[in-house]
């Protein structure tokens, strides 16, 4: 193919399969640095467990009549975990990783809790993280769909109407400056008073958080075609609807997906925050809340990781969808 260089474009000779091969080779190259960073984070976490849990370690040791320094409990009370760990290194290290309600559970403890909550419990159990995750995720997805639809519609309006641009955009921005933790209880109370409860209030909060990145991204995307592209359609006598469907919407797809990835993560946060003020009995937010009531740190961390894994899966799924769609559209 390279011999056809005067005619063929750069990289034209590299077929689809060639690109995939290049990507696979690139992954092998990046695997080592990625694993190194992961190992560093885990090492840091294990290290942090020692001072964080030192108070409990030393107390347990003292109760078992092991010599600790300082000897008096009242002297120890005011000391920081770091100071205690430095003065009792052996005791602090030995006791750091096996505590029941550790201030900072070790990674393997969180992993065990995650395992117990997902694989170890039947999905129908109210201790199953899969069940709680699904409760949160269903509200997240519903809100995400609402928010995305609202965001796209608003963006189309903003791009086509100067009045909407000037009247809607400022409110959209203001809406995001209000802390969600302040507005979430109000949304729930207001909706409850009109008889709406359950999944919808949480979805509304999710939508509230996720419409904004979609509006911003889509406004940029719909405005991305240059004046030449718009002139070209003008020479065909195209209507505004045709300009929208033939040019603006397809051109905005890469922007849409960037926004969707931010939007789904924001949606998940919205659903979790929506579970906090009601004392909901189900959902990852409920697990977080219950964990902090009863000092079940492993449960908190397990719920946090479950949320993070859900977010990562959703963003990954959107990324795959993006590659598939843009690939089908020939945009590589």
């Amino acid at each position: 193919m390279t011999r056809a260089a005067p005619i063929a474009a750069q990289g034209a000779g590299v077929g689809r399969s060639g690109r995939v091969a290049l990507r696979a080779k690139g992954m092998a190259h990046t695997l080592l640095p990625v694993m190194t960073v992961l190992a560093a984070i885990l090492a840091l976490w294990y290290l942090a467990c020692i001072p964080m849990n030192a108070g409990q370690s030393v107390l347990t040791a003292a109760r078992a009549d092991v010599a600790v320094s300082p000897e008096s409990a009242s002297d120890r009370r005011g000391m920081s975990g770091l100071a205690l760990a430095l003065r009792n290194p052996g005791v602090a290290v030995a006791g750091a990783y096996g505590q029941d309600r550790a201030r900072l559970p070790a990674p393997h403890q969180v992993a065990a809790e995650l395992w117990a909550g997902t694989v170890g419990e039947p999905v129908s159990s109210n201790r199953s993280l899969i069940w709680h995750g699904w409760v949160t995720m269903s509200a997240t997805l519903l809100g995400f769909v609402f928010g995305t639809a609202l965001g796209v519609l608003l963006a189309i309006g903003i791009v086509h109407s100067r009045v909407m641009d000037m009247s809607v955009m400022p409110w959209a921005i203001v809406s995001q400056t209000v802390p969600i933790i302040a507005i979430a209880p109000m949304i729930i109370v207001v909706l409850y008073s009109v008889g709406i409860q359950g999944i919808v209030p949480k979805a509304v909060i999710s939508a509230y958080l996720s419409f904004f990145p979609v509006v911003v991204g889509m406004v940029t995307g719909l405005r991305s075609p240059g004046s030449m592209q718009l002139d070209l359609l003008a020479t065909y006598g195209a209507s505004r609807l045709q300009v929208l469907t033939k040019l603006r919407l397809p051109a905005s797809m890469p922007y849409l997906f960037a926004s969707l990835k931010i939007g789904i993560a924001a949606s998940l946060i919205g659903a979790i925050v929506g579970e906090l003020p009601t004392g909901a009995s189900a959902g990852l937010g409920a697990r977080l809340l219950a964990g902090s009531y009863y000092g079940q740190t492993e449960q908190i961390w397990a719920a946090l990781f479950a949320a993070a894994i859900l977010a990562a899966l959703s963003v990954g799924l959107l990324g795959a969808l993006e590659r598939a769609l843009l690939g089908r559209m020939g945009m590589r």
Binding site: P6, A9, A12, D231, L233, T235, G237, K246, M253
Partner: protein
């Protein structure tokens, strides 16, 4: 025979933050059906602006302009012309065939008609077999040929071309010039062609409009005596060199007067 494009005392002033820019001043020109007219001049001489006025993309501030006997805007809505921009501007999410189908979709041609016209225009620009390729799989010259096919697909009588080969190298440009002449001979369309290149203008045109800047105006109109049949080596002939010389003189005179 009534002219296809008829401009009389055309004026266009842009209001910018730095004050008024006189883009066109007192431009009068008639273009007959089937002519190949090149517009040549330095940057800012208004050649592109004039083309955009004919296309109805700019509105003149003075004078009269008729395209196919109507106002430029009415002619635009009647789809009287195809426009080729300096960049090919193909949609990256459409195949070559899909790009050529774009104007046909907007203008509401039937499915059979769309397929037929895409096939025919692709053959016309020598891109048969590339219908299913994406723009990034084609070279710059091939992309520009596809954009010409796109402008030809709905068979408008006028083709407006704004430095279509400006971004291409000399070798590709020569070949495309040759192909463009053949295409013109086959289709008999009226061509308005903006260029920076003197040899290109002389080689292609039946009429060369020399323009000069500040304010943008016509400084010379040269009717070419060259035959319609033009092999590339006609550029070494005495007549060709004489016309090129006259174009150069016109450009120089325009610059000195400014």
């Amino acid at each position: 025979m009534t002219p296809v494009v008829s401009a009389h005392a055309l004026d266009l002033t842009f209001q910018t933050t730095d004050g008024a820019v006189h883009a066109l001043k007192d431009v009068s020109l008639d273009i007959g059906a089937g002519e190949f007219v090149s517009f040549i001049g330095p940057s800012g001489c208004g050649k592109t602006t004039f083309l955009r006025c004919v296309a109805g993309l700019e509105t003149p501030t003075g004078g009269t302009l008729a395209v196919n006997g109507m106002s430029a805007d009415a002619a635009r809505r009647a789809r009287a012309y195809g426009y080729v921009f300096q960049a090919a501007g193909l949609y990256p999410w459409r195949t070559i065939g899909g790009n050529i189908r774009l104007p046909l979709e907007i203008m509401g041609f039937s499915e059979d008609e769309k397929a037929r016209r895409v096939r025919e225009t692709l053959e016309l620009v020598d891109l048969a077999g590339f219908e299913k390729k994406y723009p990034w799989q084609l070279s710059g010259g091939m992309q520009q040929r596809a954009s010409i096919a796109r402008a030809l697909s709905f068979d408008a009588g006028i083709l407006l071309m704004d430095e279509p080969f400006g971004a291409l190298d000399e070798i590709v440009r020569d070949r495309l010039n040759e192909e463009l002449l053949a295409l013109w001979a086959r289709t008999g369309k009226t061509m308005l062609f903006v260029t920076h290149s003197i040899p290109e203008a002389v080689y292609l045109s039946t009429k060369i409009v020399v323009m000069s800047p500040r304010p943008g105006r016509i400084s010379d109109v040269i009717e070419s005596p060259l035959p319609k049949e033009r092999p590339l080596d006609i550029r070494d002939s005495r007549e060709f060199i004489e016309i090129a010389h006259r174009v150069r003189e016109g450009l120089r005179a325009g610059m000195e007067a400014a």
